[in-house]
Every structure is written in structure tokens, then in C-alpha cells.
């Protein structure tokens, strides 16, 4: 399987703190790769380093054949990477429509694609002209997702999308991710909910203390409770 994104020996410092220690893993093209690990393992830092929001102090990040670790964040985004941050980061002073207009950066929004997104997230149609700041947490997450989907992206980086959301909304997000994957997108997803990871993940990398300590298939990890316990500190039952 060709890898769309490859990290090798990535080190990241934030101020005086050394957060990532030689992170290395690959994200196979057309697959959903889960990035798992305890809190503070370095998952969010890894995504932010890929996006160029924090600079890698050394190491190599490749999108296809292209090295991107020294590129600016806008150039990385324009290379085809969509980013859904943990904080959702919707523009609360802007309406739902205006948030999506900005996300469709190279022109008008494609109506067919918009209808496809509305199919997963009907509240976005309903609150089309409402300010994003007035949306509920779940609706903001839908908007954050929609923003990354409004145009085709080669790779989606998604950071803990299900955190604090109601089960019905998590279900819709999972359906959406499955459909996006079916359409050929590659996804790197940080997730704490093992059930969700198990349902949509093809590959998995597990991080601990700023290092990748395990890479393999999601199915193999899901089948090995002892490995889960060793890597994640919890059994599958307690993740549910």
C-alpha cells in the first residue's frame, strides 16, 4: 500500500519543552489511520506539526513525494490537507454559510457537494444564516467537519471529533467519515474512543511520551486485549 503521508524522525519543541521525540509512522493512501494514545502522548502536537502550526525542529514529513515540514501552514493546506482541530475553531462571529464560503477557498461552493454534506448534517442547512457562535457543541463539530469537506482534500487530519458529543451526533460523524473514506479520501484521526477507532480505523499508530510505540492494523489491535492494555492502559471494556 502506498503511503500518502510519511513522518520520520520528527522532533518538535514548544518553547523549552521537547514534545515529539523522533515520531515515525506512515498513513496509507485511501485508508483511515487512527492515532491513539493517552492524554499528553503527543497526538495533537503531531497533527499540528504536520499542519505546520508548530515547526518540526528536525525530521522529515512527506505528503506523497513532497517534503512539507518546512512549508508554511497555508501552503500545506493548499497541498491538499484539511484540518479539523480539537477545539473545532469555527469562526463564531461568522454565519454557517460564511464559515463554509471561507473554507471553499478557490471559488464558489459546489451545490452538489453542499447537499451531500447537508445529508449528513441537516442542522447546517437549517441554521445556514445563523452565527456559528450560537450553535451547540455538536453543531459546531458538524460545521468544523463540513469546512474540511467542502472541497476535495487528499488528506484529512481530524483531532478528537467525538469528544463530549451525544451518541447520535457521533453516529452521524462516523457515517460521514465512512462515506468520505469510500470516496477515496485518506484520513488521519486522533481518537480517544476505542469503539469509534475500531469501527472506522484501518491502520493504527499508538503514541506514548512523544514517540510512536506501535504501528499496525486496527483489526490486530482490536483483537489483542493484552496489547491494548499495555499500549493504552485500558481494556476494551473500559473504553466503551
Amino acid at each position: 500500500m502506498t503511503e500518502l503521508l510519511t513522518l520520520s524522525g520528527v522532533e518538535t519543541h514548544i518553547g523549552r519543552y521537547h514534545i515529539l521525540h523522533g515520531v515515525a509512522f506512515g498513513v496509507p493512501e485511501g485508508q483511515t489511520t487512527m492515532l491513539l494514545g493517552r492524554n499528553g502522548a503527543g497526538k495533537t502536537t503531531t497533527l499540528r506539526t504536520i499542519m505546520g502550526l508548530w515547526r518540526a525542529s528536525s525530521g522529515e514529513i512527506r505528503l506523497g513525494e513532497k517534503r512539507i515540514e518546512a512549508m508554511s501552514t497555508p501552503d500545506i493546506a493548499r497541498a491538499g490537507i484539511g484540518y479539523v482541530p480539537e477545539t473545532m475553531a469555527v469562526f463564531s462571529d461568522l454565519t454557517v454559510k460564511e464559515n463554509l464560503v471561507l473554507a471553499a477557498r478557490d471559488g464558489e461552493m459546489n451545490q452538489t457537494r453542499l447537499d451531500w454534506i447537508f445529508g449528513f448534517f441537516p442542522p447546517l442547512r437549517k441554521f445556514w444564516l445563523s452565527r456559528a457562535g450560537t450553535l451547540s457543541g455538536g453543531q459546531k463539530q458538524m460545521l468544523s467537519f463540513a469546512r474540511s469537506l467542502i472541497e476535495e482534500r487528499k488528506l484529512l487530519l481530524i483531532d478528537e471529533p467525538t469528544k463530549g458529543l451525544a451518541p447520535a451526533i457521533i453516529g452521524a460523524l462516523i457515517d460521514c467519515l465512512k462515506e468520505v473514506k469510500r470516496r477515496g479520501a485518506t484520513i488521519l484521526l486522533v481518537e480517544q474512543n476505542f469503539r469509534v477507532a475500531q469501527e472506522i480505523g484501518d491502520a493504527v499508530s499508538v503514541m506514548d511520551n512523544g514517540r510512536v510505540v506501535h504501528s499496525g492494523t486496527m483489526a490486530a489491535l482490536a483483537a489483542d486485549e493484552a496489547l491494548q492494555h499495555r499500549l493504552l492502559g485500558l481494556s476494551l471494556d473500559t473504553h466503551q
Binding site: M51, P74, A77, F120, P122, P123, R131, S136, G138, A172
Partner: protein
């Protein structure tokens, strides 16, 4: 599975339209009315206050965007006000004959190039200032204060070198001299022009911010610059553009103020800077509407208090700022959470 409306709590909480700050200038004017001996004096003071408010708004609007979007404390903003006024003087002094002619067209033929030069030069200097002075200190507030304050002192001294320490007279065009009479109230023509220019600038800014993609980017950038970059937009270009526009507006404000005072001097930028900062803080960082209301409030309060209690006029701005911040600690219409 898709999410139904009920899954997410169908209705949004109704957004309460916040009209209260908009009513403040009206309330202030009405409160002042019974204390002022005659209606005509009240009208004169009110229109003079509105005109002064519009001039302050034009000068401060650029600073609030720079503050809100770029998180830059630009104490050099006053320099652009003074430079704008001097650039106008460069054109208007030699064209004094046209300015004094009793012809609208000759007056315009002098004023339009003067405004164009002031706006153009301050815009370009804004570009240079952002690239050379501001860019190295993004995110470092203490250094920003020091370096922009230093920049203003240097600019002021350069103006002294080129134009000398004396005040330069900047007479009003002949057709803008004198007053209209509304009943018994005398309303200076130039003040009406200032109100119109201020309203045009305000409406243009609202139009750009709300109806164009650049405006959306600025509003989004004020909230979260990082996410704007993650969507693929080069925020640095936006910063440069906003800084240029903000500096050019300061230049325009300088021309308006210079003509209002009928003289320019190198220290005028520094003198106005405190007032401009007070307006930006009262309005709420990054808010153009807040800045507009704040400027009118400050100017009206200064005029009314100056007339009724002249000794108190010196501290009116500060007292008003304290009152507003006690009521709304982040200003009238805060945009950024910084």
C-alpha cells in the same frame, strides 16, 4: 444515519440583538439637553461633537482592526496621523490660491490631490512600517510598545527636520468656511462635511467587512488567525493589507483634523494617540462599530462637559472609559477575546 434536528436540540438560542451601546450617544445627548441653556447651543454642540467623533473614528478605525486582527499594539499610529496632515499641507499650501477661490471646483482641485497624496503616502509608509518595524516583533507586546513608540518619535523628529518646528497654517477651502443656520443654531459647513466623510468611511468599512471575502477573512482572522492559515490563506498578506489600510485611514483622519484646526504640527499625532486608544478600548478591540460608537461618545461627552464644566473636560475621556469598562469590561462590542 444522519442527524435529525431533534438529535441536536432543534432550535438555536435566540441571539439577542445588542442595541444598548447604539443608544448611548442618543441617551447622552438627551441627558445633556436640560443642562444646556438654549436649544440652539445644544444643536451646535451636538453637531460639533458628531463631527469631532467622525474625525476620531476615521483615525481610530484602522487601529482597532490592526489591534484586533494582528494583536499589535501600534503606538506609532499617531505618526501616520501627523504625516497625513503634512502631506496635505505639501499640496494645499502651494495651491493656496485655489483654496481661497470662491469656487467649489477649484477647492476640490486642491483638496482631492492633497487627500490622495496623504492616503497614498501613509498607506505606503504603513507597508514599510509593518515589514520593517512590526514584523520582527509579532506576538511580543512589550517590544511592540517600545519599537512603535520609538518609531513615532523618529517620525516626529523627521517631520521637524523636513518642515521645521513651526506650525504650518492649513486654511479651510473658501467654500467650506462659514455656517449654515438651523433655526437659531449655527452649524459650521466643514463639520457637516466631516460627518458625511465619517459616515461614508464607516459604511464602506461595514460593506467590505460584511459583503466581501476579504472582509470575511479579516473578521475570521480577528477571531482565530491560526485557523485562517489552516484553511490555506496567507494571513501575512492580510496583515500587510490591513496595516496599509489602517495607516491610510490615519492619514485621512490627519488631513481632516489638520483642516479642522487649520494648522498642522509634528506633535499632533502624539497628542491624538491617547484619545484614539481610549476610543478603541471603549469600542472593544477589533470592533469597527464599537469604535464608531466610542468615538461619538467621547466627542459628545467632551463637548458637553467642556461647555458645562470646563475644568472637568480634561478628564472626560478617562472617566468615560472607566464607566464603560465598569459596565462592559471588554468594551462596547468586543470581537476578539484577547
Amino acid at each position: 444515519m444522519s442527524v435529525t434536528d431533534t438529535d441536536v436540540g432543534a432550535a438555536l438560542p435566540k441571539m439577542r440583538a445588542d442595541y444598548l451601546p447604539l443608544l448611548l450617544p442618543v441617551a447622552l445627548a438627551l441627558v445633556a439637553l436640560p443642562f444646556i441653556p438654549s436649544g440652539s447651543t445644544w444643536v451646535t454642540l451636538t453637531i460639533a461633537g458628531l463631527a469631532m467623533g467622525m474625525m476620531i473614528f476615521v483615525m481610530a478605525s484602522g487601529l482597532t482592526l490592526i489591534f484586533g486582527l494582528m494583536d499589535v499594539l501600534n503606538f506609532g499610529h499617531g505618526a501616520f496621523i501627523a504625516i497625513g496632515a503634512y502631506m496635505a499641507a505639501l499640496v494645499l499650501v502651494p495651491l493656496g490660491g485655489w483654496m481661497q477661490a470662491d469656487s467649489v471646483w477649484l477647492n476640490l482641485a486642491a483638496v482631492i490631490p492633497a487627500v490622495a497624496l496623504a492616503v497614498g503616502v501613509t498607506g505606503l509608509l504603513g507597508l514599510a512600517f509593518e515589514r520593517i518595524v512590526i514584523a520582527p516583533v509579532y506576538g511580543q507586546h512589550l517590544k511592540q510598545i517600545l519599537i512603535t513608540m520609538g518609531g513615532m518619535i523618529v517620525a516626529e523628529q523627521i517631520l521637524y527636520v523636513f518642515f521645521g518646528p513651526q506650525q504650518i497654517p492649513l486654511p479651510l477651502p473658501a467654500t467650506l468656511r462659514g455656517s449654515f443656520m438651523i433655526g437659531e443654531a449655527a452649524v459650521e459647513k466643514y463639520r457637516v462635511v466631516c460627518v458625511v466623510v465619517g459616515l461614508v468611511v464607516f459604511l464602506a468599512m461595514l460593506l467590505v467587512l460584511n459583503r466581501t471575502k476579504i472582509g470575511l477573512l479579516i473578521r475570521a482572522g480577528v477571531e482565530n488567525t491560526e485557523m485562517v492559515e489552516a484553511l490555506g490563506y496567507r494571513i501575512t498578506r492580510l496583515f500587510v493589507g490591513v496595516f496599509m489600510a489602517g495607516s491610510a485611514l490615519a492619514g485621512l483622519g490627519g488631513v481632516m483634523w489638520g483642516l479642522y484646526r487649520e494648522q498642522v504640527n509634528a506633535a499632533m499625532g502624539g497628542e491624538l494617540l491617547v484619545l484614539v486608544f481610549i476610543v478603541v478600548i471603549i469600542g472593544g478591540l477589533g470592533s469597527v462599530t464599537g469604535c464608531f460608537i466610542g468615538a461619538i461618545l467621547v466627542a459628545l461627552a467632551t463637548n458637553y462637559i467642556g461647555f458645562l464644566l470646563p475644568k472637568l473636560a480634561l478628564v472626560t475621556d478617562i472617566l468615560l472609559m472607566v464607566a464603560v469598562l465598569l459596565w462592559r469590561p471588554r468594551g462596547l462590542y468586543p470581537v476578539t477575546s484577547r
